[in-house]
Symmetry: C2
DNA sequence: CTTTGTTATTTTAAGTTTAAACTATATGGT
DNA sequence: ACCATATAGTTTAAACTTAAAATAACAAAG
């Protein structure tokens, strides 16, 4: 039986109740989280069904596409939100699929550089175009003003959060 | 060497580049996604360090707290964005910690109902209070208007996305 | 040189995730 | 009762995740 309902659209209500009892920050966060998950899951689903790819794979390929010469694995990790140890397996799988090629650096044999293959470039371009179109489709009813306003205000949100992180990673 | 940089604050820029070349919908999505991950990771970190709990555990307990009589596992799955198969292990771990109790339904032996124990209720109340305070702290610089505006506009976003999901789950 | 430290990547262990298959139980039509 | 079908929950397989330890290569100080 097929049954992946992990992100039903009315999630926020179901999950968090009427939510009138929460503080504004909490209400916003619950709504933002549920919306993000809704979109993420939808994109994940489409990437998988239409391209047999996962979201982290797409992220990684987007990075490599941006750097024609390829990137060392540590740099890839930094740019993709994927932890160091995780890059290894991710790149291995992409290499097995012929989308990425690994080469060892000449001067420094510790370094491995990953680079998209021509097939990888083709595949990425297809996925990127679809990804852009999916977002246009999914957000089409929100209105251009809302999209613009959200972009600005989420910027403020992000700045505030960045300034109050507990770890050493605040900039 | 310790090295978990998976969510540095300037992620959006690093990850997605100047992003001026993207369509507004894509730009918004990348910013929204990176901000959500920033907050999620911070809350996950705090839940873990201060309560030894994971985010899915917190979500699940929030649901059970809301329903005094407890919930069947399928209903829990629907309400928590946790897929069916995942509920099993999650509830198992919480039961092992004495925070949740499982009982089999009398009439329908397929059904299992999960319910918070008194210890579970105590624990949840502590976590919920901290969670609310963390959000207030993290979002404090964003401004009340931005928070209010975001709440409204993300509502539109969510409605649009819900209306255009590919699966059968659109309502 | 050789010890000490640093950097790049891989490996490991524990746990989470999704999607799909499986088991057991119930229900409904005949 | 019997069979098809639906439902509740569990299990499985593959991918991903974090955190930490391990390996390997380089760098530099004495």
């Amino acid at each position: 039986m097929i049954d992946h309902h992990a992100a039903s659209p009315d999630m926020e209500l179901i999950v968090h109740g009427p939510s009138g009892r929460n503080k504004p920050e909490t209400r916003l966060w619950l709504r933002m989280l549920s919306t993000t998950r809704l979109i993420t899951n939808e994109i994940r689903r489409r990437l998988r069904s239409q391209f047999g790819a996962t979201l982290p794979q797409f992220d990684l390929m987007a990075q490599l596409y941006r750097e024609e010469a390829g990137l060392r694995l540590g740099e890839l990790s930094r740019r993709t939100m994927v932890t160091n140890g995780n890059i290894t397996g991710l790149v291995e799988r992409l290499e097995a699929d012929g989308l990425v090629k690994r080469t060892t650096h000449d001067q420094d044999r510790r370094v491995t550089v990953a680079k998209l293959t021509p097939a990888g470039i083709d595949r990425f371009l297809l996925m990127a175009a679809a990804h852009e179109e999916w977002l246009r489709e999914l957000l089409q009813d929100a209105g251009d003003e809302a999209v613009q306003s959200l972009w600005v205000n989420i910027g403020y949100l992000k700045a505030s959060v960045s300034a109050h992180l507990s770890g050493e990673e605040a900039e």
